[in-house]
Symmetry: D4
Subunit: 207 residues, 8 copies
């Protein structure tokens, strides 16, 4: 694998045996972290039993081996509401395994601006902010106006009807009135963490 | 016409002569306000010359006769950015002609939360708030969390690309995390004012 | 919570234990009504057993504590057909818990205009009308022409094929030829009731 | 050409010379009516000068030669609003040239039910009803409930925003709660008249 | 009910008890046919046991009481492929109960033109043709070119991927190059039969 | 450039000077045909004056230098109607410049099956068939059933309303009931000719 | 059946008995290969027991009788990632039964260009390349630039969110910057193999 | 303005006078760079004449005052084809005015992999890469696999038909198989530069 890029396996659609095989092979031929995303809790023990020294991060549904040492890069993960929790958990788990320090800032949707403003300092303290929000996705714009750091927005498929399974939040985040917000795929906490990992590379490189 | 409902003509696609004819007829057969929306400035004088005692409200591109007396109903019209101005102007002009008192609260998009919060009192003072916003339409959610009064959201077709000519703002407003927000058609300042007019009816009726 | 705004919890995706915890906390830290929407009948008793003095409104799938006293605000809830019933029931249950008087006007779709006209007086007697309709959603336009009061249209996901799970009704209601109709999200009886609640605020405020 | 089917040319994109050539050829090789649709007023005289015995129907933008003799088939053409007029005019012109008797029933949108009901008898007197409506297209459902005869619905691209250039009316008409309504393409007054022409065939055939 | 219009109940979402209740009431208050569509085979016997003198048409999933006497109106029902069978069966069952004579012309998709042409005479013998086709829906255009009678096209949701659950066939049928084709909702064999029923009305009326 | 692949320049958005510069450079650094597509007639002479030995193919709006010698590969280009002509002309011009022999088979839409069948032999005589059709795009399916050779379908943006600027024809061609049809982008006669050029490569290679 | 075209049955929605009946009939009335696609492993043995001399190709979920003799036509089947495997397997199984020689080139997505380039020679050795890819479908463009032979792109429904169940890959392949790529329906390995079969016809024909 | 955030004005829809007024005010009340985007060449001189010490960057259509001093942050801007040039030029102009060092890497679309690989080192030398591509947008995935640094993808509206004015490239970039790519709005070179500016903030902050 390319220098500095962890090995990542997408779990869904793979049997326990396939995951065991792929994880073992990757641990063998590379030197950094190996991750399997979206693993159901009932599948994790069987895999861990056969590929030792790994850990299952249940909230984020992540299997991981050889976590990276702490890099000092600090990411805040904000959510608009409780339903956005699982996507945020995936982002947090991946970020931690890749050596980032993570601050959770849950449930600060824009319908309650005072709660959001109360968290402004915690958000500003981070090197980057991941914003996880479904429905109208307005939190990304509000956070983008509060912090000068990179903002990675993750639309979620929470909501119903006109939420269009996350498409509404996705479009809204892409047209945010806060300049310089970037967006990843719907429900992809994983992608947001990987984007933050790329940021951590450049943060180390440019003194 | 039904009691309490003004007569409204949609200007686009009609010649000056057609507008003159329809306006004269409506003034004749009804007793309340008569309005023609979306009239270009160059067409107004010719119509007014032939149908006396009307006025042209240039910002809102509205021709009107027999404006309603003040009702005491107070509506605030907030916009997210300067490009939302013309739609807000249509809402304001129609609202005024229908007897409402209007407060303009321009340019309070959520990327600048302190500016928005500075206007919270002016918004809370109104009987209803019309929120006009394009792009991601997040302002409706933020205002919905700040005021207990009815909020009528108007998505606008400002923005480009993923703004999809107002569809993104429309969908976002419909899935607002602030409960009880209502939405009208894209760019329809007229519809928002008419919805406020319906509110004014019930406000008078229920002591 | 903000003055005059009830506390609302969205049930789906939450365990009974989570609902118990959140409802208890909200009852503790606020003074008004507490509602949990979209609760399955099999889950209600377990929650009510642990959080006393609540009630389950089965038709509307609503759990509620501390209902508001009657406000005198009167809302009519009209449906186009029988399939729209569950969404109307949610609107009605929430409206009643928030202190509104509710009149049900079921099954008055525009394909049977005489049935609809027979109900015109009951619709005109209300302070606001919630119109619940799927498929082509035409009922909102017809009601909008019959009453001068606010009309809140709720598109439903009934129908198949070109009904596009409610999107067709949503778009149709937004482009209604009856001026001043407002619209909420697909299947959201809850949002319509909350919009009516906002109306009730202003109705009380403006003598 | 197939027995009973007139020859139709689609005008847009063709030069006057091409139209002259095609019309002349069709008059030569067939025996029934020859029509050219969507011809601009400025183009008609030049074509008629070179292909004699034709007529230009300005409202419907139709050039026609050898109109069919009256068949006794009677079609009513209803519109929701004034903007639907040009599409209705195309339907009416084509229907007349094909030998039908046409009754115009303009401006009976569902927001004014009493106006619509006042026309019920005229609608019921027809062998078929063509309903032309844009925006939410609700008129098709209401007419479908009033008459037992075939209803051919033509969505129009009038309206803006959520009207989606006629797609909303199209979808609404396809999901009409009035059973047995049929639908043709957006703005295609021509298609509606041709569908009525097919009806006239069967009406003659089955005593 | 309006003269000449049968009573129709949409089965899905209703319990056996509800169907029994509604069917009994309709038989009581009207004089013509009573139909319940989309009834599962396992539900039919229980309903028939309680509401006597009905019949279940298994292929078309239709429950019916008081079928109309034969009207002499003749409809052909063509399908493109075997997967379109169930939708055609619904159309045929409803048409028969409403007194029409039905000819089935299955599996004549345009990829096999000789098979289609071999059926041209049977199609031309009908007073109207219902064309049922999914995927690209091309059969409607081909049939429209072969017969002068009314063609009612029913798009089906067969196919996958770009078939978009019937939307592709729907759009294709609406833009058919054969003039005067009409279209009903996706998978709605019922609507096609009802449209044919309307045709049968006019066929009787115009000598 | 890769062996066997001509150099192609997309004309729109480039000035005459830019086209001159790019064409001259490509003629210099490569040995095969050089083409510039979608060049307006008024721009061609100026370019040809400066880059000698080229030719302008007006129907296909194509500028070309160093046409390939005849390869013996034979392609038929069929259209459904006259409006599809310009897209077919682009395909034909590009195909000829690349050394193919081209047979035009115009105006054989499926609404006139006998005309289509009359051309079956000409279609079967070709090594590959390019089918150009807008609206419902049904011609691709019919041709796919008539010939065993490769069929390359080009949807066109002709038509209006539900034709959705070619998207309907595109979707229809992708879901064709004739197995093994392939599809290129809307209006891209160029892409179809290039796909045929790839076919010609393999036809030469496999004896 | 037409000369050179195998008989194909689409398995889904058919009972084992229906498949037995159709397969037996096709074997009887035709002389070439008979295939049934998308047959579940649990259904295959029962069919094979009753229709002898067939084989089940489990990876491709294909039942086949009378496979064609080898034709010498060589197709490479490339996939972007492991999730695209089942669609590729269908393409490969159908291609082999129709007499093609197949080379599998799995897992060469463009995020790992060196792996892709390492396979360039194997891809260039084929008479045609089938590219199977989901998500952004970029592999088709990269392969199109590497080989001069025909490229048949199959979008797959792998991925989530903005992948829109394969629509994104489909659109991306249709707008590929590599000229002359052709595209078939989402997930249709079958269609790609049939398109290759058409290529094999012409490859034999043109010396 | 918030520390570190430049003042940006969106030019379209504003008169020269409005731009003069806003620019002057911003220069007055803030201390950093002031930018006006998407200014036509013919409007620039009049504005610069009235608001001194600014500059017009013609390629990027950018007016700017008080450019930031060089920060040492290095961004590469890659395009897939020549049509993507104007969007890249906007990104580059904004980036330079905000103090970044910019490397242009034009015309490296994935249909020519060797050209792309030849630029790999220049891309890897940057602190961040902005990838500008229309049509299928595949370049973002390829670059994402080549560099470990942050990748900001800008879909462009180049292309036609299935390119859907940039929506296809947008969706493709969001579902990139290269992990951690981020995306901004269609044609928004400006947003990409602002996202890079946020990166530059964190790069300075984390040693
Ligand atoms: N700006 C506007 N936007 C939407 N609808 C309007 C507007 N102005 C007038 N209308 C509506 O248009 C209808 C009148 O249209 P018309 O008969 O063409 O004048 C009435 O139903 C009005 O409520
Ligand atoms: N206004 C119209 N809308 C839709 N199709 C039309 C129209 N006028 C003519 N056509 C159809 O266009 C075809 C003729 O097209 P063309 O060969 O271009 O003249 C025939 O199939 C006509 O039925
Ligand atoms: N008419 C056309 N439609 C689509 N792509 C084209 C067309 N003409 C040329 N191209 C492609 O455009 C690219 C060249 O674009 P450019 O570098 O802007 O000249 C090449 O990949 C060509 O294959
Ligand atoms: N996997 C498949 N995907 C798409 N079409 C198929 C598939 N398998 C068979 N077909 C087509 O389905 C049709 C046969 O359908 P049926 O009559 O239902 O067996 C033929 O046109 C086949 O070309
Ligand atoms: Mg919350
Ligand atoms: Mg502003
Ligand atoms: Mg009913
Ligand atoms: Mg009117
Ligand atoms: Mg078949
Ligand atoms: Mg023709
Ligand atoms: Mg892989
Ligand atoms: Mg290039």
């Amino acid at each position: 694998a390319r220098q500095g890029v962890p090995e990542i396996v997408y779990g869904p659609g793979k049997t326990r045996e396939q995951i065991v095989g792929i994880a073992a092979a990757l641990l063998d031929r590379s030197a950094g972290p190996v991750l399997v995303t979206r693993v159901a809790p009932q599948d994790a023990p069987a895999v861990l039993a056969q590929v030792p020294e790994g850990a299952y991060h249940a909230d984020g549904r992540l299997l991981a081996w050889r976590p990276a040492p702490p890099t000092g890069f600090h990411v805040a993960v904000a959510t608009a509401g409780t339903s956005d929790g699982p996507v945020a958990a995936e982002a947090e788990a991946v970020a931690r395994v890749l050596g980032m320090t993570v601050t959770s800032v849950p449930d600060i949707g824009v319908a309650g601006l005072h709660r959001l403003l109360a968290e402004a300092e915690r958000l500003r303290a981070a090197d980057a902010v991941i914003v996880v929000a479904g429905m109208e996705g307005a939190l990304a714009s509000a956070v983008g106006g509060l912090v000068a750091a990179p903002v990675i927005a993750v639309p979620t498929s929470t909501g119903y009807g006109a939420a269009l399974e996350g498409v509404t939040a996705l479009l809204a985040m892409l047209t945010s009135c806060a300049a310089g917000i970037t967006v990843v795929n719907i429900d992809s906490g994983f992608s947001a963490a990987m984007a933050a990992h790329r940021l951590a590379q450049v943060a180390r490189k440019t003194p």
